[in-house]
């Protein structure tokens, strides 16, 4: 018999439920309460692409050590979905725990001897105390939160405090939920005592201030702070909540006293229109952006080419999901990297930013708008469903004192008035490939020009002359060189840079990568990419390491293609570590592939667990 697992602040809880039953708020309550107690958490919501009646999972990793990537197995399962009960039950780690709704009896064959069972009559308890049918269903979810609190030895008042915050102003809801919490808590105490479960949560004094927030909320708020005034979007999972957050924060922060808006949010008729609107707004000098996911990026290709060639700023948030085509709309992936970088027919390249947590999402919006304005080109902020829609632990959002908007090279009325030479919209006066633009309506007779996606000379006049065309395309390459100096540098996240083994990752692969690395007892450096094009330290890092691996969440090693292509690196030098099944990348997947690569390249290392075993 396997001994029951025992751990303090280091385990994984999974709640298997049915969507459309209102479990989201109960689940959030649990995760937020743990976090409020100072313990790092990483909740992940795994939901279906439908509205009601299908399985959904809420996985919470609790890790005092800060391992907040997905671990990939479950210590304690709350199984309240009959459809998936069998599989959920099977998924519990040996030694783990299984909490179920004992209102009905568990079928006979649910008889694992290697796990501990907790039956709690969730439905019955809720039915006994609440009369409204819908409320009964909702509150049966809160009952299991109470039960978990009892098992983990959590402070019930802490949870109730969180409850009060969550439902601020809705006293009736607070009272009902508090009662449901008690019901679950008391039932467990009465039937299982307070020491039956080896998994415990112990409150901590947090080392530093942290927040728990979704990436999409941080992106939306980031756009508000970055001065975006026009947002055009089309609903698509998992990007919708970027628009919702932007609008909600604007409503709060950007209205005049009499309710007039210093912003406009438009639900466009589709993604083509959304990007068209963004281009129109930016052309006119207003900061505009959109948020979308893969299918939207595909549809935007022609407009990306226009913005690149006509040199109109635009910011596009791409919250990636599992592709191709409709793919798995509620699963995560990093698989639009290649298309986003080279979107559009013809010779085109677009800068990409890769934030890794909410604080970076917030800053990335300011960076993206500054870069778009400065370089007069579309910039994509690349996140994924995992970061976008899950609450992520993060440093607080920060805006450096005194940071001001960089609107780039714009000649205003005064500058135009004082201009002595002939104004040329596409004249590279500064040698950095970026010419000066003007905004419509600025000056009665200077600075007007005709924007187009067709070839034109330096003065924006239409031409089909080969030399004018090449001249322009080459200036765009010069501009690309300038952009390299404007994007955020890759950062060394682990090691001292002197190891033989170098890992490269980006976005949401960071946490699991760091966790995987800690399992090896050889020096390993980890570099995190934060932008395309690549900062000079990326090429240096690759050159300096004997074995380089690139961790990403797609099938075709898309970032590797970009590295190889843009840095002129032999592909063989970069070993791909890939994960693409739609779930966030777990640390053990990375560790296994690393082992295999190291073995293949002749480097002998044992990972710490092997050593321990």
């Amino acid at each position: 018999m396997t001994a029951p697992l025992s751990a303090v602040n280091e385990f994984v809880v999974c709640i298997a439920n049915v969507n459309g039953t209102g479990s989201a708020s109960a689940n959030a309550l649990f995760a937020k309460a743990v976090f409020a107690g100072g313990v790092p958490v990483a909740p992940k919501n795994i939901f279906p692409s439908n509205i009601q009646g299908l399985p959904t999972w809420f996985e919470v990793r609790i890790s005092e050590a800060g391992h907040l990537g997905r671990r990939g197995d479950i210590d304690i399962m709350v199984g309240v979905n009959a459809q998936s009960l069998e599989a959920d039950y099977a998924q519990v780690r040996p030694g783990g725990y299984f909490l179920y709704d004992s209102t009905k009896q568990l079928p006979q064959h649910f008889a694992r001897e290697d796990i501990t069972h907790y039956g709690v009559p969730l439905t019955a308890l809720s039915a006994d105390h609440f009369s409204d049918m819908r409320q009964r269903q909702l509150l049966s979810n809160t009952v299991y939160v109470g039960a978990l609190a009892a098992l983990f030895g959590m402070d019930l008042d802490r949870i109730k405090g969180q409850l009060a915050r969550q439902f601020a102003g809705k006293e009736r809801l607070i009272d009902a939920n508090a009662l449901a919490l008690d019901l679950g808590h008391d039932y467990v105490r009465q039937h299982y005592g307070s020491d039956s479960c080896g998994l415990k949560i112990r409150e901590l004094e947090p080392a530093s201030e942290r927040i728990l927030m979704t990436g999409n909320s941080a992106l939306g708020l980031g756009a508000v702070y970055a001065g975006a005034t026009v947002m055009a979007w089309y609903p698509i999972t998992p990007s919708t909540s970027v628009a919702e957050a932007f609008e909600a924060y604007c409503r709060r922060l950007r209205r005049t006293e009499d309710g007039e808006k210093r912003y406009a949010v438009i639900q466009a008729e589709d993604e083509l229109a959304a990007l068209g609107m963004v281009i129109g707004a930016n052309w006119n000098g207003a900061r505009g952006f959109t948020a979308t996911s893969g299918p939207g990026i595909s549809l935007m290709n022609e407009f990306f080419g226009l913005a690149y060639f006509a040199e109109v700023p635009a910011v596009v948030v791409n919250v990636q999901r599992a592709g191709p085509s409709t793919g798995m709309p509620t699963r995560t992936q990093q698989s639009d990297v290649l298309l986003s970088a080279y979107a559009s027919h013809g010779d085109t390249k677009h800068p990409l930013l890769f934030p890794s947590d909410p604080a970076e999402c917030f800053t990335a919006m300011a960076d993206a708008f500054d870069l778009a304005d400065r370089a007069q080109t579309p910039v994509l902020v690349m996140v994924d469903l995992d970061l976008g829609m899950n609450e992520y632990l993060s440093a607080p959002l920060a805006w450096p004192e005194g940071r001001s908007y960089d609107r780039g090279k714009v000649l205003d009325a005064d500058a135009l008035e004082n201009l002595s030479e002939r104004y040329g919209r596409y004249l590279d006066v500064d040698g950095d490939g970026i010419a000066w633009r003007t905004w419509p309506g600025s000056h009665p007779d200077k600075g007007a020009f005709f924007t187009r996606g067709t070839s034109r000379d330096r003065y924006a006049a239409y031409t089909e002359r080969s030399e004018a065309y090449s001249d322009n395309m080459e200036r765009l390459l010069r501009k690309w060189e300038t952009i390299k100096t404007l994007v955020p540098e890759a950062t060394l996240e682990h090691g001292d840079g002197e190891a033989e083994i170098g890992l490269i990752c980006y976005g949401t692969s960071l946490l699991s990568t760091l966790e995987a690395v800690r399992g090896f007892d050889v020096p390993i450096d980890v570099l995190r990419l934060r932008a395309f094009p690549f900062s000079p330290n990326v090429g240096e890092f690759i050159a300096r390491h004997r074995t380089v691996m690139l961790i990403e969440q797609n099938r075709d090693a898309q970032m590797r293609t970009l590295l190889v292509n843009e840095l002129e690196i032999a592909p063989g030098l970069i070993h791909p570590v890939l994960h693409y099944d739609g779930m966030p990348i777990p640390a053990n997947t990375i560790a296994e592939q690393m082992q295999r690569i190291l073995r293949r390249t002749g480097i002998q290392v044992l990972d710490k667990e092997d050593v321990a075993a």
Binding site: T229, I266, D270, I279, G280, W283, P396, P444
Partner: protein
């Protein structure tokens, strides 16, 4: 076409109220075919803007792709223009309008650009009652790609290809009306005075002003059996009622018999005088009557021109949105940045 003599006087010979000359409203040299209807439309726009004292640099010009879409380059040289991609002008114009509510926006499109690839955006621009003039230079064909039928080509019409159109021809006025446009008119590039009056009305109007202008393609669709040819247009036009646009600057005292003329006030203070034609002419803002009149004319093989529909009450997108009066592009960091205290507050809420 004007039934009331204009009593608007120019401050100096050849200059308008702003002291600008007609040439200040012109554009680059046209590269269209000699005789192309589109050039007449450009000339009418120049005329209307000149006579309306429009400040040229306070205009944003938009278009998609096509011969028609080239024309914004051929008027108002002192305006910024944006020749975007095929069929997507409405969205680019929408974004620009959101970004700065203070300019006058003119979008020029073709029947290929609007009725095929651009249909969705066209309908949604109308639905949002965007404050702009949206003008289609309708020649029933794809001029720039050498004369294929467009979706507005009428059933049975024969272009230079010699093959009669076999599909139903879309009526863009009816579609605009059915989609929420607040001003709908139709004209003919060969009828400059009507067109100029319509343009002025559209410019004075706040909201989506849609003008479908039959503008023959002399190279590919001006055959005897084409319903979009000069000859056909001249012979098959019915006028919905003469109109006279009276700019807000001019004090007017006009004699007209009660009931014969309808008077409409526009947003910029201008007035519109409309002659009522026929006894079944409904009110100008009666959508059902307007559609019926258009469809009846079409069934009879006629083309109904003039101002077909006008609703001055319908709020435009900015009104619906309750956007601040200052154009969004004029707001600086001072007005837009919510401050560090608010950020601290939000951080606290997330912890």
């Amino acid at each position: 076409m004007s039934f009331i003599a204009p009593n608007f006087r120019h401050p100096e010979q050849g200059a308008n109220g702003l002291g600008l000359r007609r040439s200040d409203y012109e554009g680059a040299l046209s590269t269209l075919c000699a005789g192309c209807g589109h050039d007449s439309v450009s000339a009418a726009i120049v005329q209307a803007c000149f006579e309306m004292d429009v400040e040229p640099h306070r205009v944003g010009k938009f278009s998609g792709i096509g011969c028609s879409s080239k024309t914004p380059n051929y008027f108002l040289n002192h305006s910024h223009g944006f020749n975007s991609v095929h069929g997507r002008m409405p969205s680019v114009a929408t974004g620009a309008i959101l970004g700065n509510r203070d300019l006058l926006y003119i979008g020029i499109s073709g029947d290929g650009d609007t009725a095929s690839i651009g249909m969705g955006q066209f309908i949604h621009a109308a639905r949002r009652n965007l404050d702009m003039l949206y003008l289609v230079e309708n020649n029933g064909c794809y001029g720039l790609t050498k004369g294929q039928d467009s979706a507005t080509a009428d059933l049975g019409s024969v272009s230079k290809t010699g093959v009669a159109t076999e599909l139903y021809g879309l009526d863009l006025c009816a579609l605009a009306l059915q989609s929420g446009a607040s001003l709908v008119g139709r004209s003919f590039s060969g009828d400059k005075s009507q067109l100029v009056q319509l343009l002025k009305t559209a410019i004075a109007h706040r909201g989506f002003a849609f003008l479908d202008v039959i503008s023959p393609c002399v190279t590919f669709n001006n055959t005897p059996a084409s319903t979009k040819s000069y000859d056909y247009a001249r012979e098959h036009i019915d006028v919905a009622g003469a109109l006279d646009f009276v700019p807000h600057q001019s004090a007017i005292e006009i004699d007209y018999a009660e009931g014969e003329v309808q008077k409409v006030h526009l947003h910029d203070g201008s007035e519109l005088l409309l002659e009522k034609v026929g006894k079944d002419a409904g009110a100008l803002d009666d959508k059902t009557a307007a559609l019926a009149a258009m469809n009846r004319a079409q069934d009879a093989g006629r083309m109904l021109t003039g101002l077909l529909y006008l609703d001055t009450e319908l709020p435009d997108l900015h009104t619906v949105n309750r956007t601040v009066a200052t154009p969004l592009n004029q707001l600086g960091q001072d007005e837009l940045f919510p401050g560090l205290d608010a950020l601290e507050q939000i951080n606290a809420e997330q912890s």
